[in-house]
């Protein structure tokens, strides 16, 4: 999956051009090409070891590429050391200087740029106000909570007006409620300042909720680059389908193509699914259908449906109910089905026989690996 060549235009802030990086004999990045637009928030999403952090470190200059080139604002930076790249970076553990006060931490990047003291003090105050930490100037990092430390790290990275903000899993150390509010806040600040941002995470929820575009990575390649909706609704391959969001994988057999749709046999039932990636398959070739939990409808077993089974677990989530349904007849395969509202709690009790219908036009189908 490559972005269009036009990605490297005048609106490109960061451009990775067929970048390759090896550690010993292991290829951490395999000819990755990615353009990040000015003011854009791009997330590198993938499991650990997929190369997302390596790509970020290459942008920061902590590592050098083995092949390809990296440009920031149109200027090739392969041979430019980190301290001349004008980047701002937030680290997973914040890396606040423990021997300096909050104000000195934030002022650090201004001192290296020889900003005069009066101007410096004002910008530090502004940055701390921006992250709502007024009055904390003289505290030491260890006297702050995790959330406050993160704000200091953000202020420190923002105060230098970086050309690009690099974020390395900055929320992973926060508890869940704090994480959500920090995500919203960071995104607000990023929008207000129009900051080009590259964000690394393994949390697909975080990626979907924050990004303009998501680059889903695995094994040193970008598997899909697109808006959160694209990535969720139209995954490019089975990896993306199963990594981003909850998904059910159903094995079926290819029957035929009709227009752009494919007919796939699931047990005795036939479903009509989007067929772009199935063209050219032979009859009765194995096909994997990926169906989101919310793309199922639970019905009474006597009604027309695709799969029959029984409820084996009910997980009440407030706004919706997750049901686990064990398919009858099969090898005890379980489906995760999401039912909005709370009627499902009473209507489909544990052990109840149910039918499951698939909103087949919404799901994704790939030739089975």
């Amino acid at each position: 999956m490559k972005p269009s060549a036009s990605a490297e235009g005048e609106h490109t802030a960061v451009y990775f051009d067929t970048v390759t990086k090896r550690f010993d004999d292991v290829a951490a990045l395999n000819a990755v090409t990615l353009g990040v637009g000015r003011s854009e928030f791009v997330t590198l999403l993938g499991p650990s070891g997929c190369g997302k952090t390596t790509l970020l470190k290459l942008a920061a200059g902590f590592l050098g590429p083995d092949g390809g080139s990296i440009s920031i604002e149109g200027k090739r930076v392969n041979d430019i050391p980190t301290y001349r790249r004008g980047i701002g970076m937030m680290f997973q553990n914040y890396a606040l200087f423990p021997h300096m006060s909050v104000a000195d931490n934030v002022a650090y990047g201004l001192k290296t740029r020889r900003v005069p003291k009066a101007d410096r003090d004002k910008r530090v105050a502004d940055a701390l106000a921006l992250v709502k930490l007024k009055g904390m100037e003289n505290r030491k990092p260890r006297q702050l909570s995790g959330g406050q430390q993160q704000r200091v790290a953000l202020a420190r990275a923002l105060v230098i007006n970086p050309t690009v903000l690099l974020l390395d899993e900055p929320f992973s150390a926060l508890d869940k409620s704090l994480r959500t509010s920090m995500q919203v806040e960071l995104r607000e600040i990023q929008r207000r300042l129009g900051l080009t941002t590259i964000f690394v995470t393994h949390d697909q929820g975080e990626a979907l909720s924050m990004s303009d575009r998501v680059a889903v990575m695995s094994e040193g390649r970008i598997r899909q680059l697109g808006s959160p909706v694209d990535v969720y609704r139209s995954p490019a391959d089975p990896f993306v389908a199963s990594f981003v969001g909850d998904n059910n994988r159903l094995r079926g057999q290819f029957v035929s193509m009709q227009a752009k749709q494919a007919i796939v046999a699931l047990g005795d039932a036939l479903v009509r699914v989007p067929g772009e990636s199935l063209s050219g398959l032979e009859k009765s070739a194995a096909v994997d259908l990926f169906v989101r939990p919310e793309q199922f409808d639970v019905v009474a077993p006597e009604e027309p449906c695709t799969i029959k089974g029984s409820v084996v677990a009910q997980i009440y989530q407030g706004g919706h109910v997750d049901l686990q349904i064990e398919c009858s007849g099969g090898a005890g395969e379980r489906l995760l089905v999401r039912s909005p509202g709370e009627q499902a709690v009473l209507r489909w009790p544990m052990g109840a026989p149910v039918g499951v219908a698939i909103q087949a036009d919404q799901c994704s189908a790939f030739p089975a690996a």
Partner: protein, 283 residues
């Protein structure tokens, strides 16, 4: 609670050693309070006279010299050891790192006497340094390096270096690399990163290393004995002379007690002075 019997077995050797050590210390302390009977190996009655004798200029001088030699050794060892420790921690090529490690650690296995003899060969009037300087015509007659505080400090630095480097390297390796990366990302070049981030964060290691080097050197015997040759005396040498040449066991014991007290005092002061550093969380 099943661990209890095991704990007892495992701590038994250490306890035995400690008991022996404490007994010896008590004996030394007891001797230091006894009168010296010339011509007799047995001590006389209890007295504080030995401690009063410590203030005699002859002995006070040795204490002062010892502290000065130890302080100089600690400082020079720190200056020589820091770059070595830094390289040891930061060098990435495995081969280079192994070479450094061998250079640093090997002296530990050679023993003080062997290392000191090597320095006699280097520092002597016909030794390596003087021969080199003479043949280059830089000096007209040999420099006096042996039997000087300078020579003693040089040899002691070599003896102490492994300990210093190991302690500094331990401190440096605990500093998360993200701190220096963060500084770089904020526009700091290598020198600024070192001076404003790495060095301050390594200060706890510096204090630990310096303290240990000081204490390590304080009890030095073979090096000042061989290189000082009687002209540079440290406490251990004085203890040896009094105990084994004059058989004045009580006063030798007093010197030991006083030396121990002085070490404790200096280390205590160092710890006190470095208290603010302990609040630095390096992780």
């Amino acid at each position: 609670m099943n661990q209890q019997p095991f704990l007892r077995i495992f701590t038994a050797p250490a306890t035995l050693c400690a008991v022996g050590f404490i007994a010896a210390m008590v004996a030394v302390l007891q001797y230091s309070l006894r009168a010296y009977v010339p011509g007799s190996l047995d001590p006389g009655g209890f007295t504080l006279a030995n401690f009063a004798d410590l203030l005699k200029p002859l002995y006070a001088r040795v204490f002062l010299d010892t502290v000065v030699v130890c302080a100089m050794t600690a400082v020079v060892t720190l200056i020589v050891g820091y770059p070595l420790a830094y390289a040891l921690v930061r060098v990435e090529q495995p081969i280079l790192r192994s070479i450094l490690l061998v250079i640093v650690v090997t002296p530990l296995f050679l023993g003080e006497v062997v290392r000191t003899y090597a320095w006699i060969i280097v520092l002597g009037n016909n030794g390596f340094i003087n021969s080199l300087l003479l043949s280059l015509g830089l000096i007209g007659k040999p420099l006096q390096l042996m039997f000087t505080p300078f020579g003693v400090v040089v040899a002691l630095v070599h003896v102490t270096l492994p300990v210093m480097v190991i302690m500094l390297a331990a401190g440096l390796s605990h500093i998360d690399r993200d701190y220096s990366r963060a500084a770089e990302s904020l526009g700091a070049g290598p020198i600024r990163v070192f001076l404003t981030v790495t060095l301050p964060l390594s200060l706890p290691g510096v204090v630990a290393g310096t303290t240990t080097a000081f204490a390590w050197t304080f009890s030095a015997f073979a090096t000042p004995q061989l290189i000082g040759g009687g002209r540079v005396n440290m406490i251990s040498n004085l203890v040896y002379q009094l105990g084994f040449s004059s058989f004045n066991f009580p006063f030798a014991a007093t010197l030991c007690v006083a030396g121990l007290a002085l070490t404790a005092l200096v280390l205590g002061l160092l710890q006190l002075a470095s208290r603010p550093l302990r609040k630095i969380e390096v992780h």
